[in-house]
């Protein structure tokens, strides 16, 4: 990545994620919700805005099975009141 050419060019500095790293889902507990999310994406031409409910389900599954720290939905960007959308 750092060759002689890249000297003097701006360097990309990766930043750590805000809430750290996802623990790996070795047993595949949340695989069903993941597949549902992927199906939704395929059906909607990879449009994220239409698949947010499925994403919320996947994250809820993770939280319930101790694969993710429990967070308020607002802090994850899922506003509760529908008027926001």
């Amino acid at each position: 990545m750092s060759t002689a050419m890249t000297f003097g060019q701006k360097q990309f500095i990766p930043t750590p994620p805000d809430k750290g790293s996802f623990p790996l889902d070795h047993e595949g507990i949340c695989k069903k919700t993941m597949v549902r999310y992927m199906k939704c994406l395929i059906n909607n031409n990879s449009n994220n805005s239409l698949c947010r409910d499925e994403a919320k389900e996947y994250l809820a599954c993770r939280m319930e099975n101790n694969l993710m720290a429990k967070e308020d939905w607002n802090n994850l960007g899922f506003q509760e009141n529908k008027e926001e959308r």
Binding site: P14, P17, D18, G20, N45, N48, Y58, L59, N75, G77
Partner: protein, 241 residues
Amino acid sequence: MKNKYIVTMNRVLLMNRCCYSVIRYNFVVNHQILIPKKPLQNVIIRSAHDQKEKIRSTLNYMIALGVMTVGLSYAAVPLYRIFCQAYSYGGTTGQIEANQAVSNMKAIKDRPIKVRFNADTASSMQWNFKPQQPDITVLPGETALAFYTAVNPTDKAVTGISTYNVIPFEAGQYFNKIQCFCFEEQQLNPHEQVDMPVFFYIDPEYIEDPKMEFIDEIVLSYTFFEAKEGMKLPVPSYVKQ
């Protein structure tokens, strides 16, 4: 004319020599040339002590100025960092409460951005690593979920560690990851397949950047390396091991 010039120069020279002798030998040399030709009545003739004091105080001021300059140049480094963090100058992110920022964020509907996913492994890494979706269309200010899959086809448990890159370079500062799988060692058992999610959003300030006006596609690229015992990877210093 020239005569006057020579006289003045001589006078200046002698004054310097006088200062020197005052400091070193603590006495005043009263040379004929130094006494003004027309002494005024209310001219105060300084004593040797006063002259010495004045020179010494000037010297003190100069030394203090020098020390202050050196000290300022050392202090400038952390001060600048604090300033940058407080005002987010030049793209440095401060210790802003991430939760607050995310919960107050509103999605901007008229600027959809396509995020394409790329997956790589180091040549010695035997995992099969690929994204589950080739791309996703996301709005700035909206959180999005994406998946990568990794398979360990070998008969041994392999530990990997990943890093990421965002192209174009200028878009990288707007790409915020809430949670992902990078920078920490992830172990895969033999013949195991696992899904790795990335939860991210693009900062709404993206639309206000003139450089981003024509950029509607961002590529997020993850690379997995194998973590061996004693191998030192270029992991950023802030990552806790």
